[in-house]
């Protein structure tokens, strides 16, 4: 948990965010507040804009309208007396250092070992001493359960292991915020559980997380709040158990009904099971 943030101010504040690709409007005015230490899951059918919104937060996509603040800082622009000035490449890079991101397809650096992947940014972006970083990196790999895989190349690791290295790599920059873009969607069903467990531990440690996912059980048990998106707008949001158990909006209801039959699990089945974040044998993973 980040210590310096006062609980009054949201860590992430998105106001009326719009984004269009070649005239096709993907985000039609998203408002979202995420408080420090909060875990928010973005749910919704594919094409609803949830991944695009996540990528807008750390400026992998530039937004067309609205504002995004992270820890009170306007992302991508400098506001001088009401006039916005686009930030330079280096300044945007500096803003991204505060935000960790985990990708659907891991995107580990294939030419570097697991340890080198984790060490890369602290050594070359923060310019910290390799010896100190090494110890921290090994501790992080140990935390995600991969201390014995430190010298393996990504191609020698399973998908689940690669994704856990990717989480460790993002954590190595000591981010205030972690973004997860469908972190288990590219995994074989039996490898989903280990990644969700790592994320769950991270959430319990107080990390602020925004997670785009189709794992309803994870959203229900780990997230404080779920945000249901469809067609580029937020349809419904609220405490995760409440929304998943008693969705108000028709589109949320039909989406949950469809995805829960596919995941072979009812929301009320094991509300307090300790292993609820670990998937049942059949689970949607795309």
């Amino acid at each position: 948990m980040s210590t310096q943030s006062e609980s009054a101010r949201p860590l992430v504040e998105a106001i009326n965010v719009t984004k269009a690709f070649h005239g096709n409007e993907v985000l039609k005015g998203i408002d979202l507040h995420v408080n420090p230490g909060e875990v928010v899951c973005l749910l919704g059918p594919s094409g609803s804009g949830k991944t695009t919104f996540l990528r807008c937060i750390n400026q992998l996509e530039t937004i067309n309208g609205g504002r995004i603040f992270v820890d009170g800082e306007l992302m991508g622009y400098r506001d001088q007396g009401g006039q916005l000035y686009r930030l330079k490449d280096k300044e945007i890079a500096a803003q991204r250092r505060e935000i960790g991101m985990v990708f659907q397809r891991f995107n580990l650096f294939p030419h570097r070992t697991a340890l080198q992947n984790v060490m890369e940014a602290p050594v070359h972006v923060k310019r910290q001493k390799a010896a100190t970083v090494r110890a921290d990196a090994l501790a992080l790999l140990d935390r995600v359960g991969l201390a014995d895989r430190a010298n393996h190349y990504p191609s020698q690791l399973s998908g689940g292991q690669q994704q856990r290295v990717a989480i460790a790599r993002a954590l190595a920059m000591q981010p205030k915020l972690m973004l997860f873009d469908e972190p288990t969607s590219a995994l074989d069903p039996e490898l989903v559980g280990e990644v969700l467990l790592t994320m769950r531990e991270l959430a319990e440690g107080g990390m602020t997380m925004i997670v785009v996912t189709h794992e309803i059980a994870f959203a229900r048990d780990v997230a404080d709040r779920v945000v249901f998106m469809d067609g580029g707008v937020v349809v419904e949001q609220g405490p995760s158990r409440e929304i998943i158990a008693r969705p108000q909006h028709e589109r949320t209801k039909s989406f949950l009904r469809r995805i829960l039959t596919e995941q072979d699990e009812t929301p009320e089945a094991h509300p307090d099971a300790p292993d609820a974040g670990i998937p049942a044998h059949l689970r949607k993973h795309s």
Binding site: A93, R96, N107, P110, H111, A121, H124, Y153, M173
Partner: protein, 310 residues
């Protein structure tokens, strides 16, 4: 059908006869006869004059020509070519339309001129047009410094520069293909970690692009070894092929002199080829490239013995 199945009904381990490859054995026989004929002519035809070939090979001007013109020329031209080529490729891939255009123009110009012609034009032309090179502001009487072109314009320097500038145009396309071959997610991951575009290029994109860039660069280097024989156009006399030809003209032993050059070219190419496979292994780490290559050769040899069933 000769080996009986195990006592149990269930089929056991497969112990099949491999496919026969009679064509391979015929090919070996034919090639062996041809090779024997060639070797016998080497030995019996006195005009080959191997002792003289050996003498030319170790003749001092030929050796210095090999070191200065051929090897130094290749290394120098390839360094200019690779560095400038990667730079041109990065320029071509930026959003900056001016740099993009400049890179395109450069490649268009240097790919359009034969190297032999370029060597003559640069050696003769530059000295003719500019005997001193003055760096200053255009059309204004402001100069920063002046270079006397004559002092720089030794034959070898101009030759290496011309070959390097020409090579850069080809290397730019190779480097561009390599950079484009790297998955877009890699750059995104680097950006998400807070890397600037330059750092991402240097630490993440280029090392992976090298895997694609190295093999064609090896070809380019081999071509460059051979293209150093064009340095005679500058003219550079301190070059191996020129010296070998000089021997042939002085002694009238044309073939042995040329064969000496041929052997030297083959030796240099072989060494460079070994260097290339080392580089490919280095940049292929993490991709499991080297094991598959080793397996391929082993399969080929096994195939010859009739062991491989492919």
């Amino acid at each position: 059908m000769s080996s009986a199945p195990d006592t149990l009904d269930r089929p056991g381990e497969i112990n099949a006869r491999p496919v026969r490859h009679p064509g391979r054995w015929i090919a070996i026989a034919v090639l062996a006869v041809l090779a024997a004929m060639l070797i016998s002519s080497f030995v019996t035809n006195a005009k080959w004059d191997w002792p003289f070939v050996w003498q030319v090979m170790k003749y001092k001007p030929v050796i210095t020509g090999l070191l200065a013109g051929t090897i130094l020329g290749t290394i120098g031209a390839m360094i200019i070519g690779v560095v400038l080529g990667v730079l041109l490729a990065i320029m071509r891939l930026t959003d900056n339309p001016v740099l993009k255009g400049a890179s395109w123009l450069y490649i268009w110009f240097f790919r359009g001129i034969p190297r032999y012609v370029l060597l003559i034009v640069m050696s003769v032309g530059i000295l003719y047009l500019y005997d001193t090179l003055t760096i200053g502001l255009p059309f204004l009487p402001v100069t920063f410094f002046t270079i006397n072109v004559k002092t720089f314009s030794t034959g070898l320097f101009v030759g290496i520069l011309a070959l390097g500038l020409s090579e850069a145009a080809y290397m730019a396309e190779i480097a561009r293909a390599g950079i484009l071959s790297v998955d877009k997610g890699q750059d995104e991951a680097a950006c998400a970690l807070g890397m600037s575009k330059g750092l991402s290029m240097r630490r993440v994109i280029l090392p992976q692009a090298m895997r694609v860039i190295v093999p064609p660069t090896g070809n380019e280097t081999l071509s460059m070894v051979k293209d150093t024989s064009l340095l005679v156009a500058v003219p550079v006399t301190n070059e191996m092929f020129f010296q070998a030809q000089a021997v042939s003209q002085a002694t009238y032993k044309v073939m042995p002199s040329l064969i000496a050059a041929v052997i030297w070219y083959l030796i240099v190419s072989t060494i460079l080829g070994m260097g290339q496979s080392w580089l490919e292994r280095h940049f292929g780490r993490g991709f499991g490239a080297q094991t598959s290559v080793q397996n391929d050769t082993r399969v080929k040899f096994l195939g010859l013995r009739g062991g491989g069933g492919n």
